[in-house]
């Protein structure tokens, strides 16, 4: 596993820029679940003039933004237990129906955070496996295996400079072979049968520099899809 000193950091985009980049890749009409934490930011960048329907696994399709403080409704919350609103066209349902919707492959996209993603698309995002930690999984495993496209939103490197893209996850798995694409602050990676392919490198990053950062053999998505090199 490659490590990288912060002083040598390559060009990185901010978390907000990354959220905007993910939002731009979601077509109108998509049914989308945004995981707890950073992925929630993506909602702020979905264009107002496009209809994208947000799902929250606790039982709502058509989730809207947070309410004004005096309009907080304790009965109307998202999976992160934050107050939300419901848009015209929303629908409520119970937990078995909600997770059936996920497990049955009806969501177009879900965006999740990650501790690690392996070259085969394995995801680790629910437990660091630290001894004594209290485990909690929530809907992570259901989301990981359920959506048609599972996007991971994460920094490429941990705070200590280790790559979150790995050959094999060392943290406990959330799902096997489930990740479609990884959006990081350095680049966007597709998970392909031959491992990670760089779909888009931000700023000065190159396939070569990303290979060095991650310690992985990376391919160029454009080359992989036969569109050039």
């Amino acid at each position: 596993m490659s490590t990288q000193q912060p002083s040598a950091a390559a060009t990185r985009i901010t978390r907000e820029q990354l959220a905007a980049r993910i939002a731009a890749d979601i077509p109108e009409g998509s049914y989308v679940n945004l995981g707890i934490g950073a992925p929630t930011l993506v909602a702020n960048f979905l264009p107002d003039d496009l209809e994208i329907i947000l799902h929250t696994e606790n039982g709502l399709l058509g989730m809207g933004p947070a309410p004004e403080p005096e309009r907080i409704d304790p009965d109307l919350i998202n999976a992160g237990k934050q107050p939300v609103t419901a848009l015209p066209g929303a629908a409520y349902f119970h937990h078995a129906d909600s997770f059936g919707m996920m497990r049955g492959g009806h969501l177009d996209v879900c965006v999740l955070g990650a501790f690690q993603v392996s070259e085969r698309g394995d995801l680790a995002n629910w437990s660091t496996g630290a001894p004594g930690a209290i485990p909690a999984v929530g809907g992570a495993m259901d989301l990981a295996i359920g959506a048609k496209n599972v996007y991971v939103m994460t920094d490429l490197l941990t705070k200590s400079g280790e790559s979150k893209l790995v050959q094999d996850c060392t943290y406990p798995l959330t799902g096997v072979g489930c990740v479609t694409r990884v959006y990081t602050d350095h680049a966007i990676f597709d998970v392909t049968p031959e491992g990670f392919a760089v779909r888009e490198a931000f700023g000065d990053n190159t396939v070569q520099s990303l290979s060095e950062l991650t310690g992985l053999r990376l391919r160029d998505s454009a080359a992989a899809s036969g569109e050039g090199n």
């Binding site: 929250t56 696994e57 606790n58 039982g59 709502l60 309410p67 403080p69 005096e70 309009r71 907080i72 409704d73 304790p74 009965d75 109307l76 919350i77 237990k81 934050q82 107050p83 419901a86 409520y92 349902f93 119970h94 937990h95 078995a96 909600s98 997770f99 059936g100 996920m102 497990r103 394995d122 437990s127 004594g132 209290i134 485990p135 909690a136 999984v137 929530g138 809907g139 992570a140 495993m141 259901d142 295996i145 359920g146 406990p172 798995l173 959330t174 799902g175 096997v176």
Partner: protein, 254 residues
């Protein structure tokens, strides 16, 4: 005449036995039947196995039941929260057993119990620690793990309105586990804001038919509604906003 309504929460929880498996509705605080849990605490049943999505918030409701050491084991998907200090301490002290279940498997296992399904193959959790030791099978090229129903002796849930036959409607995402838990317990006990006359609930809109419900008790309207209409003015825990004198009583207010 069928009348499933009872006059008090104490009457509602009467007869719950030590050692029972008790499903408790709610996702975090939304839909948590706090008044029924308080009555269960007063009733005294202990050595309970509790099924809930979480493991209590703050010091009220499910957390208070845990704090009284009435719960031997909890099945849930997400015990660790910013305000789950009661559970955290019991767990670290080895005073409560935890069965961690992915949320969708938890929901589907509860539904399976209610729907008479003996077991089912789920794609959730395959290849993870939470599927270790479980039977696997490849069906149509995809790997599944076999999951079994979760039944209960008692379910305690919260709904918005009921009639005397026990038909229920819920409110927004507070619906969450209510309908499936109602179907999976031998005795289902429901707290509602309001009991309405038979025939008031539109048959198209009943979410839980009364066949799944045994006892219903009215506990009064939630603080953020008035006459069934949302009026707001509370925080996410249901405590009044911007009323300094209300802070002292906020902990018991939901």
């Amino acid at each position: 005449m069928i009348d499933k309504t009872v006059a008090s929460v104490d009457e509602a929880v009467a007869g719950i036995q030590d050692g029972s498996t008790v499903m408790i509705g709610g996702f975090g605080r939304a839909g948590q039947p706090v008044e029924l849990i308080d009555a269960l605490i007063a009733q005294g049943a202990t050595d309970l196995t509790v099924v809930n999505n979480n493991a209590g918030n703050g010091d009220t409701g499910l957390a208070a039941l845990l704090a009284k050491k009435r719960v031997r084991k909890i099945l849930c998907s997400f015990p660790r929260q910013h305000d789950s200090w009661v559970f955290d301490e019991l767990y670290r002290a080895g005073e409560i057993e935890l069965e961690l279940v992915p949320q969708g498997n938890l929901a589907e296992r509860i539904r399976a119990a209610g729907a008479g399904v003996g077991a089912f193959f789920s794609p959730t959790g395959v290849g993870t620690q939470l599927a270790e030791g479980k039977e696997e099978r490849v069906i149509d090229g995809r790997t599944y793990v076999l999951e079994y129903p979760i039944k209960a002796d008692v379910a305690l849930i919260s709904a918005r309105q009921a009639d005397r036959w026990g038909n229920l409607v819920y409110r927004e995402t507070a619906r969450n586990f209510g309908p499936i838990m109602a179907s999976a317990a031998a005795t289902t006990i429901v707290q509602v804001d309001q009991i309405v006359p038979l025939g008031s609930l539109e048959p198209e809109n009943v979410v839980t038919p009364g066949i799944f419900v045994d006892r219903v008790v009215a506990v009064g309207e939630r603080a953020w509604l008035r006459g069934g209409e949302f009026v707001g003015g509370v925080d996410i825990e249901g405590r009044p906003l911007a009323r300094p004198d209300a802070a002292a009583t906020a902990e018991v207010d939901q």
